[in-house]
Amino acid sequence: MGLAFRNISKRYGAVVAIKQAQMEIEEGEVRAILGGNGSGKSTLAKVIGGLISRDNGEILFQGKVIDFKSPKDAKKHHVIMTSQELSLFGNLTVEENICICDVPVRGRFTDRKRLKQKAFEILKKMKLESLIGKKVEELAANQQYMVELAKALVQEPKILVIDEITSALYREDVEIVDEIIRDLKSQGCIVLFISHRMVELYAMCDTVTIMRNGETLGTYQMKEKSEDELLSLMVGTRIESYHGEGRHHQNVERDVFIRAPHIPIPTYGTVESLEIGKGEIIGVAGLQGHGQTDLVRALYGVRGGIDIEIDGKIQKIHNAKQAVSRGFAFISGDREKDGTFQERSLSENIAVVQELVKHNKLDNPKEVLDDFHVRYDNPGELITSLSGGNQQKVVVGRWLCTKPRLLLADDPTKGIDVKARTDLHQVFAGLAKEGNAVIMISSDDDELVSITSMVDTSRVIVMYEGRISAVLEGDAINRENISAASMPVNSMPQKDIENREAGAKV
């Protein structure tokens, strides 16, 4: 009897993160969990690790119901969850990090000698004993990942959940991880592996469970499914499909009016370039956190100064104010943080950029509200009284009445309903048709396929680890191509061992 999940559900407010998740895993099995953005993988991992409570359902381990109240409780039962965002402390040394969950003691005092020895033994298995004594913040991303794994191993896991390796591992690292997991397997440990890297999944996992929209769709033998099959299961077909595929215009000449030769992506330390044509919509795709947000924000001048050539003239943009005066607009999907002024009225929210930044009087905010089909009682009411979709329309209205030449949008339709989405798409397409350009990030690939089919000139660029991994045009814009480029198959870095030991920057 291994581990079983029965009808696990979890919702955050109105958002359903997991619904009725079902899964059974045998002892000594290595299970991959595969799913797109927001499919509920990480939530499931946190439920097992005791980090968050579930709303419904039960988890059975060796026939007994387990119910952890805290990560500490879970660790007592040797259920270990590791994830990059929740693991290492940069201000502590490697050995301190490895042992922090269970510090060796002599009497009541920390046994420094045993602490070091314990860490040394684990690190020796990974051939990384040279890391002892270093602070974690000094390590490269791949080394940090290995230390994180060491921290999990030292706790002698019976169930190990590995969530999202976002750092690239070198070939030797992968071999070591592979060996460690095989070792765990022989001891009957259950390993749940959440990753987007297909190569690693095929190398290490026995079986795979597909998740989509918070549901577990099915479990398959890893060897029985090809990569394409898995991806299409993961992407699925939607009921309200957008019908954009195959309708794109081919080989259209673009009339480039903005050139950005050096766009820094600080998260990955890479530099990208982009040429933007008049009337163009550029969709930015990729898995979350691969530099899309950096790309758009860098163009807006909020990731340090940037040189942009507009209409043949080189302009320096250091901050958002300068970007706005050059005719840029920025709409964020995170309305509460970057969009609305919550304690202000609708008309103030509409007029803010035009009046306070561009110093033009906006005569009739009501007209703008009506133009964008905002549903409201009167322009004086607080913006928070509107639904999310209508709030976003107000934000869009605010920017469009400034007549922007380049609209930058970071997942602008996040969390708004289908109708409002379609309205926004039409507004964006209309803006582009007037000879302006739109750059839009979306975590929903279908949305990008759809919106790029609405105008003559369009592209979808796919980002992976801070670089543009593919540029799709015309008929090439479809879900399969976007998914494939989001997770490049041959992305395993083929660097040398010295490179790994030196801790190359990722």
């Binding site: 690790g49 980090l51 805290s70 990560p71 500490k72 660790k75 969850m81 929740l86 693991s87 290492l88 402390f89 940069g90 201000n91 502590l92 301190e96 922090i100 969950c101 269970d102 510090v103 003691v105 009541r108 005092f109 920390t110």
Partner: protein, 325 residues
């Protein structure tokens, strides 16, 4: 070389350096350093150093405590009032320190268990504690038996001055805690609460502990200041809260938590104290005094933050290297 580097890289090093420099300046102004100067310096400023130790502990877990000055005042008025009521000095001191620990525990309970923001909590409790102090002793006054002052200026075992013993009590407690698993977990908590929770750290207990410790530190500070003045004043600790936070920052303790140690707090407070004594002994008009004091404080804080900035250091280093070549 590596040892020198290690000392230079120590987060409390800039504050130690500042302290020594200003100690030298003070020596030049007053004409040489004497043992009696040290004795009076430490007797006057042991309280500030104790409060800095307490506040450093709370800042290390990414919290803060601005109520310690009020606790010092409270301890002072409790000792004076109890002595006037006929209690023995020992009993009065023990009761007052007990009160201080209770105040710290109250802070710790609200911050740790009820998860209220530390700044807001201690802002509120500081007003409350100061209010109680005023209630007990509305006007400066009262006196304590001079045997208390004699005890304070005596030496333990004939060698260690009593004010230093007071500071050592706190330092020893802290070193003991640091050598337990809780010491490691404390730094982890300071770096990131969520990660610490995910790593099985008992966040509530640690927060409760640091605020209780800070309460004790303020209690001992109150004892020192009472013994040094032998009089009561309900606002005697009023300026200490903010000064101690500045001391911690000068001592290389990151306000974001997780970086620094109590030595930084100690040297930072010592630096601030010597600074005040220099400005006072320079015979400036009292209007200019606080301006100059503030100015040097600002320079001290900026200097220590620059010293802790690794990126800036690397930049300076690379410029330096380029120049040498």
């Amino acid at each position: 070389m590596t040892k020198v580097k290690k000392v230079m890289g120590w987060s409390a090093f800039p504050s130690l350096l500042l302290f020594l420099i200003f100690l030298g300046i003070n020596g030049i102004i007053t004409g040489g350093l004497s043992l009696s100067f040290f004795r009076s310096f430490i007797a006057t400023n042991a309280a500030a150093i104790c409060v800095a130790i307490g506040v450093t502990a709370t800042i290390l877990v990414a919290g803060t405590d601005i109520s310690l000055g009020s606790i010092v005042s409270l301890v002072n008025v409790v000792i004076v009032t109890l002595c006037e009521k006929g209690f023995s000095v020992t009993a009065a001191v023990l009761i007052a320190v007990g009160c201080a620990i209770l105040c710290g525990m109250l802070n710790g309970f609200i911050i740790g268990v009820m998860r209220v923001n530390p700044l807001l909590t201690t802002f509120a409790t500081s007003t409350a504690f100061a209010g109680i102090a005023l209630w007990i002793l509305p006007y400066p006054g009262g006196s304590i038996d001079f045997s208390f002052a004699d005890w304070y200026s005596s030496n333990l075992l004939g060698v260690i001055p009593m004010p230093i013993v007071m500071i050592l009590v706190l330092v020893i407690i802290w070193i003991i805690v640091m050598s337990m698993p809780a010491g490691l977990q404390l730094f982890a908590l300071g770096k990131d609460v969520k990660k610490a929770y995910a790593s099985g750290v008992n966040v509530v207990a640690l927060r409760f502990f640091v605020h209780t410790f800070a309460g004790l530190a303020a209690g001992i500070a109150g004892v020192c200041i009472s013994a040094n003045t032998c009089a009561g004043s309900p606002s005697i600790g009023a300026t200490m809260s903010m000064n101690s936070i500045a001391a911690a920052v000068i001592g290389g303790v990151s306000l974001n938590g997780g970086i620094g140690n109590i030595w930084g707090g100690i040297f930072g407070a010592a630096f601030l104290s010597i600074l005040i004594s220099i400005v006072v002994s320079a015979n400036l008009s009292s209007f200019v005094q606080s301006f100059i004091q503030g100015l040097i404080l600002l320079i001290g804080v900026v200097f220590s933050i620059i010293a802790a900035d690794k990126e800036l250091k690397a930049k300076i280093k690379s410029i330096f290297k380029g120049g040498v070549k």
